[in-house]
Amino acid sequence: MNVASIIRGARRLPLSGKIGLALVIFWIIVAVIGPFIAPYPPGSFANEEVFAGSSRQFWLGSDFLGRDVLSRLLSGARFTVGLSVVAVAIAASIGTGFALTAAVGPRWVDELLSRAMDTLISIPSKIFALVLVAAFGSSLVLLTLIIAITYVPGNFRIARSLAVGLARLDYVEVARARGEGRLHLALVEVLPNMIKPLFADIGLRFVFIVLLLSGLSFLGLGLQPPDADLGSLVRENTSGLAEGALAIIAPAAAIASLTVGVNLLIDAATQGKAH
């Protein structure tokens, strides 16, 4: 897959997909360069007035302590996007790895993994995350791991059903009859054919993770001050809700545009591939 073919693929996307792609690219850029272009340090009390409206000096107004919302948004996006990407990568690697093991391994391995995942999935994900955060505290690394583990079983379920279906196909049988090892069967014969649906699942799970992270932060169990992700920005400004402050609308709109953008892109990309 070279750059030209990616661009060609992007051109072929329907309008909704292009909007999604634009939003996703926008947020990736913000996550990368946001803190460098922020007009104020995120923690500085730049404005005397709290919950100020939009002005030339403070584009998105000020928050409940008089900090610049735009600066806080720019640095918060990095946490939300970065943490979610890392968490989803961990979740998908573990989930898909287990799924492939289950698909090409002996039956008892499949049983063992599937039942273990069933146990994990039967625990509501938010409660599970809450309990773990409450028990182990809320460091950045721990938070990422907890969120990743929360989403392993879901990814495993999808990946396993794909892999088990593919592992029964004739080309896998042929490879098996040839005497190929399990690693070859899993990585060369099965995995490449499940990448596309798996990608859709990973994208969806990314959205879930953004929302879970925002939810945890909203409850005060996510990132701890002075760091703030988009969810904690919403939470700390809840007192501005009554007056419709920009300080609460802006981060909420940011979460919405990020998740909607990713969803639009996934929908368009997977639909295109179905044809």
Partner: protein, 600 residues
């Protein structure tokens, strides 16, 4: 000229290529059908025959557009007549699809589904429709016509479902019935019954029909007129007899020739002496194995066969006969519950794990459906290259040149190595599928229905290729097929399997004339012949005396279907294996003289 019942003028169907340019998949096709006649559309896959049939219902697949004039009764394509074609679907124009098993809703009783069109279009009350359905079931020779409707689809056989689908199509007394390859997915023995039922009901009801098929012999039984299509254009249109006896077009001649495969590459004389591969007393099945060593779903019972070096042995039988299971056992994919497989006199381990890489290399398997037998994520070069690296440790430039050599062997251009399999045609895929087995330089190739999914013309080419490879490379085949004509064309020895037991085995020539096993006779006589009166002549052997008996492992398996079973012998003990004068071994209670007399 009197207006015809179905009239199609200048029909074109256009789709868009990926780059947006238009592509005509049906180009300027005109024909007409008189009331009560059946027109056959015949051609290879991609000839546009189904597209034309669907356009008679005013239906085009997504992305395709229809132009031209179509009139069916009062209805026209654009609605300038009394109605549009699209509005007539399921009512005045009905459709019988290829796979009835996939067309029925598994969670509803069949009668509800059969009468549904009549209820939706309000052509009859529920009671009337039910009564009509029962008469149709009777006309279609379905067993227990009064009660069969209360069953669920999974309780019925493929042939029965296909006939029920015809009943569904006829329930509204339509002006036109479209049969889209309705017997292609059926076994030959079932196909005969279904064809007979179709022909009877079409004649009795005076229905007008369009019969889409790739099989000239089948069409010869069903149609009055034949329209030969190739790449969306009409090659020839004439009465059935004229097309069969005096074909005017070259393409029709090719189709006719391909219907009777004759291998031109001279078959070598199979070496005598020690067999290369021998299978002794195999019992195998699926599901868990009990204490007595029997599988929960036994498939094969005491199957033995031998393949000499460079020989071609055919295994034939209908679906469910266990012929593919034989190949899986030999390949080591399925562990048998009893019996051994030996290569060059050395017994092979039952499972893949116990076999050495060298042993695995010498036996290669080729599956029927090249669409799922080739990994769509890899290019042709990668697929072939992997086998070379795996068995022969070939790499670098040697690998590239060896891949090119292999592609040359299967008569494909070397440039195809960079293509993905989903960019290839069905015949090309099947060639690559074969090349992958050849890459291992095996002694035996297990061909599991390798020609079954192909068109007749492509099939002939693949058979020719197999014969050439055998002549040039000395590779032996275990050739599995349900089509006796294909097996006879390629193999020098044939084994007939019925429900997992070997009922007959012998050299090819012994299958030319009786005595045969009664099942072999049924198989041979069920293959449609290229004459219009064939269907009237078959299946007149009379009643089957033990049709009421369940199939039993302690008696002849074929007993419930055998027309020549003898009371007091066949329903009492297992049949003996008799060797006939011609050299073929037959598992039957009947003596050679009796068998020769019965089927003379």
């Amino acid at each position: 000229m009197e207006a015809q019942h179905v009239d199609v003028r200048n029909l074109c169907v256009t789709v868009r290529r990926p780059d947006g340019s238009p592509l005509r998949i049906v180009d300027d096709v005109s024909f007409s059908i008189a009331r009560g006649e059946v027109l056959a559309l015949i051609g290879e896959s991609g000839s546009g025959k189904t597209t034309i049939a669907l356009s008679l219902m005013g239906y085009a697949r997504i992305g395709a557009s229809i132009s031209g004039d179509i009139t069916v009764g009062d209805a026209t394509l654009d609605g300038t007549g009394k109605a549009t074609l699209a509005a007539q679907r399921g009512h005045r124009i009905t459709y019988v699809a290829q796979s009835a098993a996939a067309a029925f809703n598994p969670s509803r009783r069949v009668i509800e589904q059969v009468i549904e069109p009549a209820l939706i279009h309000r052509t009859a009350t529920a009671a009337e429709a039910r009564a009509h359905a029962v008469t149709l079931f009777e006309a279609l020779a379905l067993p227990n016509p009064a009660t069969i409707g209360s069953r669920y689809p999974h309780e019925l056989s493929g042939g029965q479902l296909q006939r029920l689908m015809a009943a569904m199509a006829l329930i509204t007394r339509p002006d036109l019935v479209i049969f889209d390859e309705p017997t292609t997915a059926l076994d030959v023995t079932t196909q005969v019954e279904v064809l007979q039922a179709f022909r009877k009901v079409v004649r009795e009801q005076g229905a007008t029909g369009v019969y889409v098929s790739h099989d000239l012999a089948v069409v010869a039984q069903m149609a009055d007129q034949i329209l030969v299509l190739n790449r969306g254009t009409v090659r020839e249109q004439n009465a059935v007899r004229a097309v069969l006896e005096t074909p005017a077009d070259d393409y029709t001649k090719t189709l006719l020739a391909a219907a009777r495969p004759v291998i031109k590459a001279a078959a070598p004389i199979a070496a005598v002496g020690k067999p290369l591969l021998s299978i002794e007393g195999i019992n195998a099945g699926y599901g868990s194995v009990d204490r007595n060593g029997r599988a929960a779903h036994p498939v094969l019972t005491d199957v033995s066969l031998q393949i000499g070096r460079g020989a071609a042995v055919g295994v034939i039988g209908e679906s469910g006969s266990g012929k593919s299971t034989v190949a899986r056992v030999v390949a080591g994919l399925l562990v048998p519950t009893a019996g051994t497989v030996s290569l060059d006199g050395q017994p092979l381990a039952a499972s893949l794990k116990g076999r050495t890489r060298e042993e695995l290399r010498r036996i290669q398997i080729v599956f029927q459906n090249a669409d799922v037998a080739l990994n769509p994520a890899h290019s042709v070069g990668e697929i072939l290259g992997r086998v070379l690296r795996f068995y022969h440790c070939t790499s670098g430039a040697a690998l590239t040149s060896r891949v090119a050599e292999l592609l040359d062997l299967i008569k494909l251009p070397a440039a195809i190595a960079d293509r993905r399999c989903d960019e290839l045609s069905g015949g090309q895929k099947q060639r690559v599928n074969l090349a992958r087995a050849l890459a291992a330089q095996p002694d035996v190739i297990l061909c599991d229905e390798v020609t079954s999914a192909l068109d007749t013309v492509v099939r002939e080419a693949i058979l020719e290729l197999l014969a050439e490879l055998r002549r040039d490379l000395g590779v032996a085949y275990l050739f599995i097929s349900h089509d006796i004509a294909t097996v006879k064309a390629l193999c020098d020895e044939i084994v007939v399997l019925y429900k997992g037991t070997r009922v007959e085995s012998g050299l090819r020539d012994t299958y030319a004339a009786p005595p045969f096993h009664p099942y072999t006779d049924l198989l041979i006589s069920s293959v449609p012949e290229l004459r219009t009166d064939w269907l009237s002549g078959v299946g007149s052997q009379g009643k089957v005396p033990f049709a009421h008996l369940p199939e039993s492992a302690d008696l002849c398996r074929f007993l419930p279907r055998c027309p020549v079973a003898i009371a007091g012998r066949c329903d009492v003990s297992l049949p003996p294996l008799r060797t006939m004068a011609a050299g073929n071994a037959v598992l039957c209670h009947r003596t050679e003289a009796e068998l020769a007399g019965e089927f003379a």
